[in-house]
Subunit: 145 residues, 2 copies
């Protein structure tokens, strides 16, 4: 378990864990949460500006949450928010995303002395090394017991 | 279908559609995308700072995408990004979220003359009228054919 003290400003970490998007899952997640033609209909997607099926934003966001959560659990208490969250490259069937996190800021909480506030830059790249998703995240994390 | 021309700066709309979070779905989405104790384990969640199960951030984000997408489809082409995305109030089993969107900015695209860029403020409130989620979103949308 990683605690507040385990993060230092400037530290950067790429997880071993990755996430592979399948056509089946792109359609299933699209149907459930964002049923637009380019997420759920292979033929209609070919006629769209994407030229084929692409994963919904919420699917990419979910993968961002999932990658690394089992590999290196953190004593995170709560997400506070996200800034400069950008979807830069469409995610297509077969794409494999990896996640890199860099510590931007680390400070103790004023209101909760047993916790710190971390600000992190999170980047997802695909197997062609294109930046797919980037965001600055802030969350509350526990100090070492 | 709503096109670029259907949005005017200052317009605000609350969708009739809402989203209800069940205990079963909070656990299922948590197990799949963010398996932390306060999302997936009812007993462990009672001991957490939340005092009970809460929905994962990615579950709230998914509901934000889902609400209204069938009620009032838009000719959206692609999400560009999100700013000031904040999770302000935990979402618990039984909570019902509604969505309000306000147009912050509307301009024609420089690179694609058949499209515009919309910037919107999206807010999710629960049944107690507490602000749960807020974000400024930007996306490309087609002009009227």
């Amino acid at each position: 378990m990683r605690y507040f003290e385990d993060f230092n400003v400037g530290d950067s970490k790429t997880f071993k864990d990755t996430y592979t998007f399948t056509e089946e899952e792109i359609i299933e997640v699209g149907q459930r949460w964002d049923p637009q033609p380019f997420h759920v209909d292979k033929e209609a997607a070919k006629q769209s500006m994407f030229g084929g099926l692409v994963a919904a934003s919420t699917h990419v966001f979910a993968a961002y949450c999932r990658i690394g959560v089992m590999e290196l659990p953190t004593a995170a208490v709560s997400a506070l928010g996200f800034n400069n969250l950008k979807m830069l490259t469409p995610v297509r069937p077969g794409d494999v995303l990896r996640k890199t996190e860099t510590v931007l800021e680390a400070r103790l909480s004023n209101s909760r002395p047993d916790c710190g506030i971390l600000s992190m830059q999170a980047d997802l790249h695909n197997q062609r090394n294109e930046l797919v998703f980037t965001a600055e995240t802030a969350f509350i994390i526990r100090c070492k017991p």
